[in-house]
Symmetry: C2
Subunit: 184 residues, 2 copies
Amino acid sequence: MELSATAYVILGMVSREARSGYEIKALVDETTRFFWAASYGQIYPELKRLAAAGLIEGVDAPRGERKRTVYAITPEGEAALKDWLRQAPATFELREEGLLKLFFAGVLPREEAAEIVRWMREHRAGQAEQLRAMEPEAREKEEAGEPFPLLVLRGGIEFNERLVEWCERTETQLLESAREEASD
Amino acid sequence: MELSATAYVILGMVSREARSGYEIKALVDETTRFFWAASYGQIYPELKRLAAAGLIEGVDAPRGERKRTVYAITPEGEAALKDWLRQAPATFELREEGLLKLFFAGVLPREEAAEIVRWMREHRAGQAEQLRAMEPEAREKEEAGEPFPLLVLRGGIEFNERLVEWCERTETQLLESAREEASD
DNA sequence: ACAGGCATGTAAATAGTTACATGATTCG
DNA sequence: CGAATCATGTAACTATTTACATGCCTGT
């Protein structure tokens, strides 16, 4: 059976404890969204499909009077998740509008090209900060025996910091060549 | 008027010289595809739309008996491109299946988690190599007065190399903790 | 009373890939 | 002659986002 990547996000998210669609969405937004996002429009239909396929099981778990269904992984679901984890990853996609703009920046004066890089730097610095703010929570998970979220988070922080450095160097370089342009 | 990002890829690609849809696709595959891809299914319809909007202009440019239409940017198209370049980039997306798998790797033995990182490393090393192979061409463009493709390419190489380093460190760390697991 | 968060869902639109069809030309 | 490349296009499919609808519960 062919499952979408979103299906595996869900399987992974319910693999440790049963969760509702709403909780899965919130978790994705706090964790994987930086390298794999998912919206309600994907999550709820996918929960139905996975339940129909017997990979997860929905259980009524109301909070007070408010209806709520949490989904728990089944043995078949766990097998499917592990199977997927054991296969080489196939999707590596980057869509970075800043790089695209920089690629075409030859039609602009150098200073404006530097501005593109400044935007990229600011964005990456902000992202790094956001991720650092998530570290305490991930550290708690680590102490509770789940080291991978922290591992991945630290990778993300480092990656963003490196990009900030690259932007700084590139900005300097472009501003220097802007000065040369001006002195011609 | 609202244009898709793919529209700007096309505007950028025809901004220096007139090109056919086929050439645009080939160029995208050699250059921007690492941070912004485009398929025929997007390019040909978009060329029609841009021509209808007066941002590019199609000219018959047969090669021998083979029909061929190249599109040149118009002054309006150039204005639209510059306008877009002067606005802060809004799209920053990463979809990395390896990170997703690593995030959920707690359900696997440590050695298998390390394998995920090994796959990521191999992929990034391959990508870095591919990009390095493109350097001579980008250097030629630089000498011809187009420095940005090389600038972006070098950024891509560096970025992939850093990721390889991160993978190496992470792999070592996971294999060490696998040994600890075994000696328990 | 009302804002904000919890909870589930769907419809419509947009984006993007894949696969296919067609036919010319060039090179070995 | 056959394979590869040049060249243009479309149809079907899959993925994904956005926006909306509904209603309950909790805290101020």
